[in-house]
């Protein structure tokens, strides 16, 4: 059971307090988008073995969404940050690149 730090509360919280939300930083494609772009948005996920960015909601706590940078193979957590952003902060990118 994962232990992730909610960047909004600053608390290390148990996985049972969280709801998973899948791959982070998807770009939404709505009406007017072509079939390929829409398919990519709706269905195609990276599912890597290794570092990944994934969405979590602190459902049974503050209710806020955040993003965790986690290695899916070792469960190492590089950090978490609020979901209200277009991409990961530099320090997380660097930490993830270090193990790639």
């Amino acid at each position: 059971m994962l232990l992730l730090t909610c960047p909004h509360c600053g608390l290390a919280v148990e996985e049972t307090e969280l709801s998973p939300g899948g791959e982070a930083h998807l770009k939404r494609f709505g009406p007017g988008s072509d079939e390929d772009a829409f398919e990519e948005y709706l269905f195609l996920r990276d599912n890597p073995k290794g570092p990944t960015l994934e969405r979590w909601r602190h459902s049974y706590g503050c209710g806020k969404w955040f993003i965790a940078a986690r290695d899916t193979a070792t469960n190492r957590v590089f950090g978490t940050y609020p979901a209200q952003t277009g991409g990961p902060p530099d320090w997380i990118v660097k930490a993830m690149e270090a193990v790639r």
């Binding site: 494609f29 709505g30 190492r76």
Partner: protein, 981 residues
Amino acid sequence: MTSRLGDGGRLINRARPLGMRFDGRYIRAFEGDTLASALLANGHLLMGRSFKYHRPRSVVASGLEEPNALLGVGEGAAFTPNVRATTAFAEDGLTMTSQNAWPSLETDIGVVNDWAARFLPAGFYYKTFIHPRPLWKHLFEPVIRKAAGLGAAPQEQDPDRYEYTYAFCDVLIAGGGIAGLAAALTAGRRGERVMLVEQAAHWGGRAVVDGAEIDGQTAADWVKDALEALEKMENVSLHLETQASGVYDHGYVLLTEALKGAGPAERVWRVRAGRIVAATGALERPLSFAGNDVPGVMLASAVRDYMVNYGVSPGDRTVIVTNNDDGYRTAITLLDAGLHVPAVIDARDGADSALIRAVRDRGVRIHEGRGIAKVLGRNRVKGVAICLQAGEGAVLQEIACDCVAMSGGWSPVVHLWSHCGGKLNWDDARAMFRPDPDRPPLGADGTAMVTCVGAASGALSPAEVLATVDGAPEAATEECAPIKPVWLMPQGAGPELRAKAFLDFQNDVKVSDVRLAAQEGFESVEHTKRYTTLGMATDQGKLSNINGLATLAGALDAPIPQVGTTTFRPPYTPVTLGALAGEARGELFQPLRKTPIHGWHEAHGAHWEPVGQWRRPYCYPKGKESQEDAVAREVRATREGLGLLDASTLGKILVSGPDAGRLVDMLYTNMMSNLKVGRCRYGLMCDENGFLMDDGVVARIAEDQWLCHTTTGGADRIHAWMEDWLQCEWWDWKVHALNLTEQFAQIAVVGPKARAVLEELGGLDVSKEALLFMGWVDGTLAGHDVRVFRISFSGELSYEVAVRASEGLALWEKLHEAGAAFGVTPYGTEALHVMRAEKGFIMIGDETDGTVIPQDLGLDWAISKKKDDFLGKRGQMRTHLTDPDRWKLVGLETLDGSVLSDGAYAVDDGTNANGQRKVQGRVTSTYHSPTLGRGIAMGLVRRGPERMGEVLTFTAPRDGRVEARIVDPVFYDREGERQDV
């Protein structure tokens, strides 16, 4: 013959005798005995029958790795099957029963399987029970099912209680042997919060049985001092009879604790540990020789345990068979107790150490380079036949004995290391898999989460064990001759002997089975395991796995590390279902959500329907009235007079802010931003696929405020859905969503007399002109602040009255009082369903199933064409969703007036590629309509709305067929006159 020794037994209290029964026979025991030691002390060697061949079996081990001695314990409701006799303690008056034997343990019919063993090799079932096909159902399957399973499930409800508890610590140490105690002392002195857990009921592990010199003291004295020191440390907690069953992500550990006396029977600990120290010791391996399962053949270490811990003699004459020095330790223990050791059979040539010399000096004959060709005796050991280990099993000599103590070397208990992915190395010199410190399981910070110390890390002697622990004292070193790996005895044993050399005792897997699997191409250890069932019994292969994979490696001519181990999965030993369930049973199984009016429903005989975690009244049967009759009465009363429904469970989400209109326009398929304050509109929500996920009435409360009603089951989900979009996609929008579901009670006042009863309560103008259909108004009713929505889900004149939750019951009761004159009737969810179906209204979860779009349901009118975007708009443009052949909503009327089956299919001509009858539609809602006096239904039918009047054939139970005509889904008051009066 096994018996109680005249003295000795460090764990038993001879002053406290106990009496038990085993298959009806009286068993004398002492306090502190295990069931196994008590049975042995009474001369009961035979304890069970093996699973497949029903071979007679006795204990082979002394701890929880025991594969054979599984008993049914207790009686009636307190009966527990498959209890390991080696770990359960003797209790006065306890009843034990043997398993897997009929009519008795001594005379077991199932033993015919053993005589036919050569016809029951690995994969026998897969190969045999294929043809002829018809025999499977009526012959093979019933017979196999009867033979399957070990032990009997208890028939009554478990009278025991179980509980969960939670703990946090800096370091969790699993194992209270000398390594674990030393690690706890070091961590404790550093000031860390330490939890030290030991699965047995005593501290000290093997060192106190085998003897060691630690820091100039005996092991027993050192353990005593260590415990005294630990007990004084406030930051250290000590837990006996508590097993670390599994290690999970990020230092999460599951402990199972056995409890005594009143209160819970077991406790499950859920611990979050900063780091985990596995001081879990090692398990001795059996040797693979013919007849190694005959009662009386035991692990050498188990023989020492029974003698030293329980004062039990394993027999007068014990032959030792070993490939390492450990067997000699058992010889010394036997000799010290005055028992006879006719021979030590050592597979090694020229091994020499102080221990070996000591045994030789006491006059014991040591047969070097020899092995056991076979064990003599069937129900108990009568002797052994000796052969050359290097040969094929030609018998050199027979030695009479009544016990064989075998030692095949030690395997570190690496389970906790491996549960989260710690890797192992094969150590050739020690013939064992050891944890590789360079490839540990990682914690959240990317550093090692588990470390192994002591025997679990591969250390063998007390000196080596303590050297693995930082800050531990030193133990005296002892000379030790190296082990010689022996995976088959003798190494050239032929088929006859291999077929009696057992690897997995509980599942009856022999060397011959693993070889056969290899021959048949099962090269992966994971495949071989499943094909032969090696290591798949309740002991999970604690004794058998290493011998099994070494045998597989031999058969494949591959090195052992290349074959590798199977995956180690928690729990380490089986955990009872009761312990895992904990308190979550009966009323505490899950939390119950109750509306403010719940108690009234209960008092008025409501028949409940679970809706999510709510309980809603399904109907209110009166006296002996059936549920069907109650529903029909409630529908008629509502249509003809006045019905009341507790609608409090309906989701109520308040969306507010300057961008609230923007948000509701994105969430709903229809336009919500142009709704006027004071008005309501029915709306649909879709996911990005375009599939309909929820519906409900939206009321505009203020310029910047919309109140969104959701379905009962959808409230939390839809609120989370809104939050997801608000926080992760449109976080710059100025809007927030508040789930007010539980803040308000909501009562639907329905029927031709609805207005009259509200006027009776007084305080609010609810006339047709003042409160238009699909409008809402705030005011007071009978002194309560209320918000009244004039909306209808039944087709009748209808008001939904929202009131503070705390006033819900009072208003409900006042409505009943005032409504008495109008024949007021509370109605439940089923009447609600019937009435909405009579009106052709869809229900989320009936008409929708996650693959249905609003257009399928004839709801095109609720899909805005003006909006550029809303959630699901792009999805609905996909070709499959615009296909004119889609199944669409219609009404269905059976020709004979009967009620169609829920989910019934409309059959079509021809068959599909699988030879199944083609279908062209299905029933989504079906009821008996008390209003119309006939069956009515809704369904999805291919191009349905274009086929009005057509008659379709529907499936019915027992291969029946029912004909039904496609009609308009609105069965009642098509013009909507009744709701707009």
